[in-house]
């Protein structure tokens, strides 16, 4: 009998790295448990009241009374789950309702809901671009975009992050008559920088490419109707597909794509990540629908979110922290640190002080950087933002990141 090769041994390096981190005495940044969640901005972690500055709950919709009521009603009327695929037995009233809410929100003729944002990118990219066609993506694209490329059969071409000339050059080297899909993101979520979509879309169109934009981190607070960076830059008639998520500003879970393409519905017939998975539970789509309809009119929340982002960005800059962007371009503010040790120590000092932020490191981050990602919420009060700044000052001085 031959002894089996242990397939798990390939993870030895990962296991050792994680153990070394834990042995250094810090709390494992990738094993946080929220024992209670009190509001969009407060939770109990390790028995301690903690301000949340590391969620993607930008518009603070998770505890909205109308949203919660819609979920309760659907749970009672339609049960806890759908058991099935959207294509067969998994489409209920509220799946149709949330797709209509998306069409209304984006002012587009087509909307398709997926079970997560990850699956929306996986499904759209792998289904749109086939064999002999090309996907052209930004080097700093989210994992779901890379995985969408791997899932499909198209040729994959990468360009330098937000580099208009590099995109132009690479598109120019592709066969003129081949199908091309350029994939961009409105907000790149690690540094919080936004894409020069206007210029990039013009380049894509010049070379005959279709354009898909992921607006996961901008929904609700970019553009006159909160549709995203593409709306803010006046590109409503230029983008072929917009991908988004319910797990950030909408405050639940799910993903979607909206489009004005006359044949858009055909995606439902061909897209495997849409067909071969269970649809979202009725309560989830009902909360999403209620939330999206409220986000259409959430002008005050939007204004307050931007105010919070500006205050936090200015405060951290004045203290001497190095940030991912020079100006508060989005609701993501990244505090750049030197290495893993400094990032973890700073992260731990903030957590001990009662503040949760995201620690991010390669490969999720660009160019081998270590950073603490702060995601601002419209429900953070001015007092909380002031408290957050005090916590950063104390932790930054204790760790020696600032003087």
């Amino acid at each position: 009998m031959t002894e089996a090769t242990d397939l798990m041994s390939k993870f030895d390096g990962l296991i050792a790295e994680r153990q070394a981190l834990i042995d250094s005495g810090v709390t494992d940044p990738f094993a946080i448990v929220m024992e209670q969640v009190k509001s969009p901005t407060e939770a109990v972690i390790k028995g301690k009241d903690t301000i949340l500055l590391g969620t993607y709950n930008y518009m603070g919709m998770t505890f909205d009374p109308d949203v919660i009521q819609a979920g309760k009603d659907a749970l009672e009327q339609f049960g806890s789950g759908t058991n099935g695929s959207r294509m067969l037995n998994g489409t209920f009233r509220d799946h149709m309702g949330v797709e209509q809410a998306l069409r209304d929100f984006y002012g587009m003729s087509g909307a398709i809901v997926f079970s997560t944002g990850y699956m929306a990118n996986l499904g759209m990219i792998s289904t749109l671009a086939g064999k002999g066609e090309y996907v052209i993506l930004d080097a700093d694209s989210h994992a779901s975009i890379y995985d969408g490329c791997k899932q499909g059969y198209a040729e994959i071409v990468r360009f330098r992050h937000n580099d208009i000339a590099d995109l132009d050059k690479r598109l120019g080297r592709l066969p003129a008559d081949a199908g091309k899909l350029v994939v961009l993101e409105g907000v790149y979520s690690m540094l919080g920088d936004i894409a020069p979509l206007k210029e990039m879309v013009a380049v894509a169109k010049k070379h005959g490419a279709m354009v898909l934009v992921d607006e996961a981190h901008s929904m609700g607070f970019f553009g006159p109707n909160g549709r995203g960076v593409y709306e803010d830059q006046g590109l409503e008639d230029e983008i072929d597909f917009v991908v988004g998520t319910f797990s950030k500003s909408v405050g639940t879970v799910g993903g979607f794509c909206v489009s004005n393409h006359p044949k858009f519905e055909a995606i439902r017939l061909a897209c495997r990540p849409y067909i071969f998975t269970a649809s979202l539970p009725p309560s989830v789509v009902a909360t999403a629908e209620a939330s999206i309809r409220k986000l259409m009119h959430a002008h005050n929340k939007r204004a307050h979110l931007w105010e919070n982002a500006r205050t936090l960005h200015r405060g951290l800059t004045e203290m001497g922290f190095r940030l991912g962007t020079k100006t508060p371009d989005s609701a993501v503010i990244a505090v750049m640190l030197d290495d893993q040790e400094q990032a973890v120590t700073m992260w731990q000092a903030l957590l001990d002080g009662g503040l949760y932020v995201n620690m991010a490191r390669p490969p999720a981050t660009p160019a081998g950087t270590f950073l603490l990602r702060c995601s601002v919420c419209a429900e953070h009060t001015a007092e909380q933002v002031a408290t957050i700044l005090k916590m950063f000052r104390a932790a930054g001085r204790a760790v020696g990141v600032i003087g």
Partner: protein, 80 residues
């Protein structure tokens, strides 16, 4: 000098700025194992190769290229 040798020499010249450890280059030198390049270095290097030869090496092709020799072969084919 053959065309292929010229391509090899040019590729070697473009590897030099990224060859931090001064590894001696042969056809069998691997990018990941011998040169120990991470994905960012690969991206910069591939861009340099593409610009030099005015070709495009897709990520699909990059996944198949492990050695300097394989890269030279791929460049020869793409130039043709």
């Amino acid at each position: 000098m053959s065309d292929r040798q010229q391509t090899f020499d040019k590729v070697a010249e473009l590897i030099a700025p990224f060859n931090k450890k001064g590894v001696a280059l042969t056809e069998a030198t691997t990018f990941q194992g011998d040169l120990e390049w991470d994905s960012l270095t690969v991206m910069d290097f591939v861009a340099a190769i593409e610009d030099e030869f005015d070709i495009l090496i897709t990520m699909n092709m990059q996944a198949e290229i492990e050695t300097v020799g394989q890269l030279v072969d791929a460049v020869e084919k793409l130039k043709a």
